[in-house]
């Protein structure tokens, strides 16, 4: 199992980084967050076509690039650094992982190439974004095979071309797909604290679906693990960028005749944050290394999401505080990361949820 990124992986990061440096600026993010779809078609095409980034982690047999969590983590960290706006997380990560982990073979053959090529943007409809145990209680398939229920928050639900749904039924959980034009389906945009990631409410009333795969509790947990680790990578990218920028600011900002970064109280706060970041980042990347090597430990994905949730939030709070008034303005970009941090903190489970889940994985029986 690797401990550090290989030269190839570092080079891959440079490629991704250069592309996003040009195509995912905060001024683009500011424009895109005012739009309904929240993304730029041209950038998406370039990203999926030329670079093939969308299929980074999906198997070659299904049209993907055949890389694993390590390279996906690299892409997501670079996206998190720049607050890339687009359906990568919803379609490539959530839907891509859901199909790869939960679909039956025929549906993998049908769906994965479309997702991997970026040709179709697919949103994953989950009725619970708090805890894996809650999935499939609100969205239910009737005995007649029709889907009803509400998913209050679906990422890119409005702009997606197709919906995947995890729903319950008398025989257990399943993965289903739904056409955007299906009867009984209504999609309403919701306002998110983080407008760089679009949310919609999705309601089904006796909607026809197509079965994609049976979902066992183990597979669902593994999907949640992978999605949590993927999100953690994105968050680490954001947290790292925000801390770098904040420290750079303290070196330049002069008050009382000296840069505020020379003041011990500010130095110590930055050192504390660096420690938090180093621990969270090392752990996150380690988990991807171990997943790639098939040597993962069961409690590690939740460990990582718990650490990263706290770390990104704490850095975001400090990033505004250390900038003073200017950090609280709309014009200053800091709040864009702050908002992303606040939303990512709770998406797929709060730190508290993941800490409890971690202890259960470690063998501490359920406290409840």
């Amino acid at each position: 199992m690797q401990t550090l990124y290989t030269d190839d992986q570092n080079q891959f990061r440079s490629v991704v980084s250069r592309f996003l440096e040009a195509h995912a600026t905060t001024s683009q993010a500011r424009e895109l967050q005012e739009t309904a779809s929240g993304f730029d078609q041209a950038v998406w095409h370039q990203m999926s076509g030329e670079l093939g980034l969308v299929g980074t982690h999906l198997p070659e047999a299904y049209g993907g690039f055949g890389f694993g969590m390590i390279e996906l983590g690299i892409v997501l960290e670079e996206m998190g650094r720049r607050l890339y706006c687009g359906p990568f997380f919803s379609s490539a990560v959530l839907s891509g992982l859901a199909v790869a982990e939960l679909a039956d073979e025929a549906n993998k053959i049908e769906l994965l190439p479309k997702i991997a090529s970026g040709e179709e943007r697919v949103a994953l409809v989950l009725d619970d974004l708090n805890q894996v145990e809650g999935i499939g209680h609100q969205l239910m398939i009737s005995d007649q095979g029709l889907l009803s229920g509400t998913a209050p928050m679906v990422i890119d639900g409005l702009s997606a071309q197709r919906l995947l749904v995890i729903a319950g039924s008398a025989t257990g959980l399943g993965l289903y797909q739904v056409d955007k034009g299906a009867q009984g389906l209504s999609i309403t945009p919701r306002v998110s604290v983080d407008q760089t990631r679009k949310l919609a409410e999705v309601v089904f009333v006796d909607t026809a679906t197509q079965f994609v795969g049976r979902v066992s509790p183990e597979a669902l947990n593994r999907f949640w693990d992978l999605a949590s680790v993927a999100l953690s990578h994105e968050m680490i990218g954001g947290a790292e960028r925000l801390l770098e920028d904040t420290i750079a600011y303290t070196k330049l900002r002069v008050q009382f005749g000296r840069p505020i970064g020379s003041v011990q109280a500010i130095k110590h706060r930055c050192a504390d944050l660096l420690l938090t970041l180093e621990f969270a980042k090392a752990a996150t990347q380690h988990v991807s290394f171990s997943l790639a090597a098939g040597e993962e430990e069961k409690h590690h994905p939740s460990m990582v999401k718990a650490m990263v949730s706290d770390c990104y939030r704490d850095i975001a709070i400090a990033a505004i505080q250390l900038r003073g008034g200017i950090g609280f303005t709309w014009e200053n970009d800091t709040h864009l990361w702050f908002r992303r941090a606040k939303c990512s903190e709770v998406l797929l489970g709060t730190a508290g949820y993941h800490r409890e889940r971690m202890i259960q994985s470690l063998g501490g029986q359920d406290a409840a």
């Binding site: 109280a265 003073g324 008034g325 609280f328 702050f338 709770v346």
Partner: protein, 414 residues
């Protein structure tokens, strides 16, 4: 004057002078003329030299009779008190009455992009040309500047002396071509402040307050008045009870304008008052981990209240001396707000991602989450409060200053 005499006199005055059909200004002109607009002020300047106890009686009668008093909210109060303390006889007569009547709105022009915590590092340039001062520079965080007729301005008139000695204090007319006001939007979407750009803006030499170079000393008066305001708490004044009549309609409009910048202030305090009901509504009340965090929050909010009461009682006992305990209270407010935001986040879970009127508590929770960062910055950052506490309350030694010597030579932001 005995308290009972005061009561009678005010009642008599209202009987004789008040009518709801007066314009707001006309009524207040009567108030000013009779000395009831600012009875705590000196007799020579529109007041009656009243003690706090006497003033309280006046206010009681006004309240009981449901009658509008002088204009006194927001930055105009800072301007008025500072002019009263440091202004010339002519300045007091020129400016104070129209502040009291509400004819002139004021704003405060102290902070600059390059000098936030370090207010005395202001570098807006004031150059004298005969009887006129020419101002160039930029100010920021100017509440209500877009409504203001005049501003209290601190600018640098001498670059060759240490920084606290080179500032002067001006009364500037905001309605002139050299003054540009731009609203400054905050990260929570509100625009409670402005930026003010001064480009060859002009101030008559008569509008220099105090002497040239006394700017910092006078500014500290303004700042201490502002801090007292913080200690007393600010926020929307309850609108006057509904009585029809021109004077009340005009007053309601004035209050709406004055309070507009502050509508989100309860949210920046973290809305701990909404925690219990949210926890009950969502079922989070049954989560032992969230209960712990709620308990930590309630410990803080109750202790803060208890501590504030004690400080107030000590202040009374110490005969209204301003104790530095205000910084502790302000620091506590930051701790409370952050913990409240944390608890709200835990309670809401993934729902904390939602914003807007259809989200939790009609959007108040979301607004709280993105407003709380202001509490530890506005009115003096937590870092500044901690320095004050350490040096003034705990008596810890000051650091060596790096900003002595002529201002021209001190490192500063470009």
């Amino acid at each position: 004057m005995q308290l009972s005499e005061i009561k009678a006199a005010v009642n008599q005055f209202i009987d004789e002078a008040f009518s709801p059909d007066l314009s707001l200004v006309a009524w207040r002109q009567r108030l000013v003329a009779a000395g009831w607009a600012a009875p705590m002020w000196p007799k020579a300047y529109f007041g009656r030299d009243f003690s706090p106890a006497q003033v309280a009686v006046v206010n009681e009668v006004f309240q009981a009779r449901g009658v509008v008093g002088a204009a006194q909210l927001g930055p105009r109060r800072l301007a008025a008190e500072t002019i009263l303390a440091h202004g010339s006889d002519a300045q007091k007569h020129r400016y104070l009455p129209k502040i009291l009547t509400g004819e002139h709105a004021w704003c405060q022009l102290f902070s600059e992009p390059g000098s936030g915590s370090d207010l005395a590092g202001a570098s807006t340039k004031a150059e004298r040309q005969g009887d006129v001062w020419i101002m160039n520079g930029q100010k920021v965080w100017n509440t209500s500047a877009h409504h203001a007729d005049f501003g209290i301005l601190v600018a640098r008139s001498d670059w060759d002396v240490p920084k606290h000695q080179g500032l002067s204090y001006f009364l500037i007319n905001m309605r002139q071509p050299g003054v540009q006001v731009r609203p400054l939007r905050q990260m929570n979407g509100h625009a409670s402040f402005n930026e003010v750009f001064l480009t060859d803006a002009r101030v008559d030499h008569n509008d220099l307050l105090g002497q040239e170079g006394e700017g910092w000393a006078i500014a500290t008066t303004t700042l201490s008045i502002e801090r007292q305001g913080f200690a007393r708490g600010r926020g929307p004044t309850p609108i006057h009870r509904e009585i029809t009549g021109r004077v009340f309609e005009e007053y309601a409009k004035e209050i709406a304008i004055d309070n507009e910048p502050y509508t989100w202030y309860p949210q920046r305090e973290g809305r701990p008052d909404l925690v219990l009901q949210r926890a009950e509504a969502t079922g989070a009340i049954n989560d032992p981990v969230i209960r712990q965090e709620m308990a930590k929050l309630f410990c803080l909010t109750e202790a803060a209240k208890i501590s504030a009461n004690r400080v107030a009682a000590e202040r009374t006992r110490a005969d209204n001396q301003v104790l530095p305990a205000g910084s502790l209270g302000k620091l506590g407010a930051s701790v409370i707000a952050r913990q409240a935001a944390h608890v709200h986040t835990m309670i809401s879970g993934a729902e904390a991602m939602l914003s807007g009127p259809e989200s939790a508590e009609a959007g108040l929770i979301a607004e709280t989450l993105i407003s709380v960062p202001a509490i530890s910055i506005a009115g003096g950052t937590d870092e500044i409060q901690k320095n004050i506490i350490a040096e003034r309350v705990l008596g810890m030694p000051k650091e060596q200053r790096m900003d002595t010597g002529p201002f021209r030579d001190i490192a500063r932001n470009n």
